[in-house]
Symmetry: C2
């Protein structure tokens, strides 16, 4: 199978040409990153050394400025200041710096603050690499390995964020403490680094001091065998005994249909800015759709990105209880963006944030010809069939956070819909055990025995999207159109009629006034259509223009107890929907400093202020959730499992925007007409 996939982002080339007028939302160029780094390192504000950068990204201009620059007539982007936000650790403190890089050859630090609250910035790949080198030099660990009859060189240890468990957890001196757990992976027997865990051994590392500060060799389990765990093509075959399909190639005889200008993508009736952030990965901004009838481009989404992926495991054991990752906040989705090429460009992963590094191939844009139908109708009476095929544009990022691979798609449809798809694949987290058969499992094993001595642990995935919808303008309201059962009263004055019908449903329209109205369980009863509308823009018939949220499966909510520590940090995962007023600082659902965060600065905490959200600039937070009981098929690498949701125009257009779409000239030759039946 081949896709016609075409280059989309050329951030480095943007940097190379050193455009004097970048789009205000363009990611930092290599030149700008270098300027940030040099400005911070040469500043007297942060004298302590070593200094490590944990986050560098654009400090975007105020939203009105960006909107004015993008849609206004008077202001040009060249006059907007260009700023970066850097978070650096030095002297045991988290420093927040804003650097003006409007003139990248003369950067200036315009603010500096030290974060004193709970939580820490992301753990960097550099730190992980440095920490990996510690265990082989740590004699208790070496003894543990020997005692198990293994070679130290065959054992890899990785860094795991340790979550937050209040004073119930040993502090190990406090600060940026993480855990390390190990696998047998260096013996070349398998490329599956999660299938052969060395369960029982946990190291504790202070990442600032880069030193082992705790050690526990609690219990010995057999190391699962390597056989059947590998996934590399040259190890699983030949012969390749799996199902075979024939290749298919999408050919576009007239060329591709989308255009890239800097970071702006234009395709069919859509236009959007495609950015990239170390923490969020792909960022969609300023998405607007052309309305042919109105003869203008209309705003839909100011900003959309994955704010967090919360992955709690369901095993209270010593080695597992803290596996409650906030992947974006702990490790960064942009930092974890695949594929291989990027890693191949950075041998040994020895790089320091702040230095520009080329991250190749992290976003992919392609047109999707899936055989779907945009709309159709057959009129048997009139002998008419009209069909319009559906072609869509997909922007894809793949994030591999350790074991799991997330395929994160934004699919733009000509109908005005945006479909967001999360597909999970990759490798399960597994624990070693003595079990070889389920009959031996007398106690709760907290997982599935996917292979001999191998339990894949129960867990959840909660992927939280930040969706700053601006439906046809900045100020929007959040509407719940609840479908409520009515008895037929027989009286037209109350909606009834003198007919035998006893019941029906009708729509109760509730406008959310404050944030407490903006928290919704999408599985709740009675059901409701959830809309973002612009109360100042109405259709000819008087409806507020809007977009609607349509969940497409994967609507799980967290089952953890409210008072449990991981749940306090990710308390927003009890509802799929939250609506907040736009606030420049509220980007990350578990808070800016999510690593070891306590939940005091998360989405729920903000929402509890109960601010007004009616006819305001508001933000939709949607959490796509899956409970994952592993099954045998998920081993050694799981087949993709997907969930999705759709943002669909609902009274946004005056009518179906595809009705005046030209039918494809060869559609009658499509020959999707292949059966004959007798009746």
């Amino acid at each position: 199978m081949r896709l016609l996939v075409l280059a989309v982002l050329c951030i480095l080339s943007t940097a190379a040409t050193a455009s004097p007028h970048p789009h205000p939302l363009d990611p930092l160029s290599a030149t700008e990153l270098t300027a940030v780094r040099e400005a911070v390192l040469s500043s007297p504000l942060v004298p302590a050394r070593p200094l490590h950068f944990h986050y560098v990204g654009i400090d975007e201009p105020e939203k009105p400025e960006v909107l004015s620059c993008t849609y206004g007539t008077s202001t040009s982007s060249s006059i907007l200041p260009r700023r970066a936000l850097a978070i650096a650790r030095a002297g045991g403190q988290s420093h927040e710096l804003i650097i003006d890089i409007t003139n990248s050859s003369a950067p200036s630090i315009i603010s500096h603050a030290i974060h004193h609250g709970p939580g820490f910035p992301m753990i960097t790949p550099d730190e992980q690499s440095a920490a990996m080198a510690l265990p082989p030099k740590y004699s208790p660990f070496v003894e543990s390995v020997w005692r198990r009859g293994l070679n130290v060189s065959d054992v890899y240890c990785g860094v795991l964020s340790r979550g937050w468990f209040g004073s119930s957890q040993p502090s190990y001196g406090g600060g940026r403490v993480a855990k390390m757990q190990c696998v047998v992976g260096g013996d070349g027997e398998t490329a599956n680094l999660y299938a052969r865990p060395l369960v029982g051994v946990t190291l504790v590392v202070n990442l600032d001091r880069m030193a082992i500060v705790g050690y526990n060799d609690r219990v010995v389990y057999p190391v699962p065998k390597a056989e059947g765990t590998d996934y590399r093509a040259d190890k699983v075959g030949p012969p390749y005994t799996g199902p075979a399909t024939v290749p298919g190639v999408v050919v576009q005889p007239e060329g591709r249909g989308f255009h890239i200008d800097g970071h702006t993508v234009r395709w069919a009736n859509w236009e959007f800015h495609l950015g990239f952030d170390m923490r969020a990965g792909m960022v969609i901004s300023l998405a607007s759709v052309h309305d042919a009838d109105a003869g203008k481009r209309r705003r839909v989404l100011y900003r959309g990105f994955v704010s967090e992926i919360f992955v709690p495991y369901m095993d209270p054991d010593e080695e597992w209880y803290f596996h409650t990752f906030v992947d974006a906040g702990d490790f960064g989705l942009g930092v974890s963006a695949s594929p291989l090429q990027r890693v191949g460009d950075m041998p040994k992963r020895q790089y320091d944030y702040g230095k520009p590094v080329k991250a190749d191939d992290v976003i992919c844009v392609f047109e999707r010809y899936a055989g779907d139908i945009a709309w159709r109708h057959t009129s048997a009476a009139l002998l008419i069939t009209e069909v319009r095929p559906d072609v869509t544009l997909v922007a894809r990022m793949v994030v591999t956070v350790g074991n799991y691979d997330y395929i994160l798609d934004w699919e733009f449809k000509t109908s005005g819909s945006i479909k967001i798809v999360v597909s999970l694949t990759g490798i399960l987290e597994m624990k070693a055990s003595w079990y070889t058969h389920v009959d031996e499992m007398k106690q709760d094993a907290h997982g599935t025995l996917v292979a001999e001595n191998t339990v894949a642990v129960f867990h959840d995935h909660f992927v939280t999207y930040h969706l700053d919808l601006d439906i046809d303008g900045t100020n929007n309201s959040f509407i719940k159109n609840t479908m409520v059962q009515k008895r037929n009263t027989g009286d037209p004055a109350t909606g009834g009629a003198r007919t035998p019908r006893k019941s029906y449903w009708t729509v109760r329209r509730d406008v959310a006034e404050t944030e407490s109205d903006g928290r919704v369980d999408v599985n709740g009863v009675p059901p409701a259509d959830l809309l973002f509308v612009n109360p100042s823009k109405k259709s000819k018939t008087g409806y507020e223009v809007g977009y609607r949220l349509i969940p497409g499966g994967a609507t799980a909510a967290s089952l953890l107890a409210d008072d449990d520590y991981p749940q306090r940090r990710a308390s927003y995962t009890k509802k799929q929907v939250w609506v907040t007023p736009y606030n420049r600082s509220e980007k990350w659902a578990p808070g800016l400093y999510a690593e070891q965060s306590t939940g005091d600065d998360n989405l729920e905490a903000w929402s509890k202020r109960n601010r007004r959200i009616k006819d305001e600039d508001i933000v939709l937070w949607y959490t796509l959730g899956l409970h994952h009981i592993p099954y045998l098929e998920d081993f050694p690498v799981m087949p993709t499992l997907s969930g999705s949701f759709e943002l669909r125009p609902s009274n946004f257009f005056e009518n179906n925007p595809l009705i005046r779409t030209k039918p494809p000239s060869n559609f009658n030759n499509l020959n999707c007409s292949c059966g004959a039946a007798s009746m």
Copy 2:
């Protein structure tokens, strides 16, 4: 856009070659249909005339016989008797006949019964055509049309099933009584036959007598204007102002990957029989998947088809209260299968069931290259990325039941999953009104004002699938793996541990004993994985082999009152999942005689017998449901809206069946690697 779509079914050619050994599940050939017709018409058992056929289909052999014939070694299909079921109306009665056509030149009727219970067989297109001719000759109707200043020749009237409302509804002499309502559609102003209703006028027709037996001209509303309602390419343009995409063609350089042998489709690891039925449309039978590790083909699905589509509208008004269609039972999905070509082959739809008619192009099979990923993993530590693209096989039927078009897809995946997708498009049912702006709507209008004088009425769609899963054998059990929150007791004997973790979830496994355990609200709390397992087949580690149901959105349940008439008929729509023991006669969720049915012989009635379903031959009934509040975009033809569910192997294979799949040779050139970012 073009798809590589290839011919799949050649039922008529099968008939032409008059194979002496049809597959026992093959649809009736033209020869066989003629034999059935002649046998019934020449039989003294049903002397009354006229005699009309309402259903003719195969009376399939007993399941053990089919299984033995398909998978056994001793029996060959040639010795299975070949039988047809015919339902005919004659003398005001519904006759059920079984005709042996093993020798189609000497058919014999082997049973005859008269249906005395409530309900009637499907209304036929012939009857609809004949009824359409009645109103223009019915003088009160002609006067009503004149009074509105319209031409009779411009008005089309269609037949609507009238549902069942007990003694609350006038009987009009009882029997096969239907209603007729009318639209302005004959003036050539628009091809949209639902946009200009002549609301207020209702005719009642006795279909057996083919005579008008009731008439009501209750109220006059303006006829909505034609402008903006058409959807024909040559009427909406040029210019075509809708969004334009570039064409894409799927090319398969090595040819197509599936093979057809009679009605049997073989592709990758799948094999299934693709049948067709007047009522169900496409029928998937005997789907089995090859297990390369086990070196054998394993059974998954004995039979799958759409059993019913229940569409209740939410307006209690005189003209609307009875709009509570059971599309399959009232009109037939096979009969309603699009596209146009079939209609073009049958001008004026003048055909009588029982006579073979060629139904071209009603099922489409194609391989889908959508850019999806079957599985992938990147190991940053080992500098490895392995990706396997996903290619799937889609079997598609499009059913147009009057206004709505349903695109009904079965997507077979190499992972062993079957994904079933329902996509809704077509035209809304609309009522005329005086309203031109929502501000005028002081009372409940029961719909959305999609255009001036045009209200699209609130409604639901409940698409019920009959899924006779046979997971690796005939006898299966239904399992609910419920995820239940646990407090950490600190005691390993109860699954706890002495750690700061306070809570987790674990799995409570419930085996359904009887049918009452087989009714599930998939939105219920706590959540559960729902599996069909084979208790006599276990994995090496001891798990029962199984398949799991994964809803993908569209999980609405009916909101009608339990005591309301339409709800009593379709009472099964209050739960998405029902599990029943296999019973040859339980195919149609609202009962065999669904037209004007009372609910006494529906899925819920069967389930109430509370038969054993543990380790039995059991059937899954899944209802995909949508509540539909119309929006302006749904006018004049709605953009496709989809829901889906997946049947996914879960402990069926010993591990991921795709792990030993050969990577595509050109995959590294796929170039889904198109972005560069600086960090």
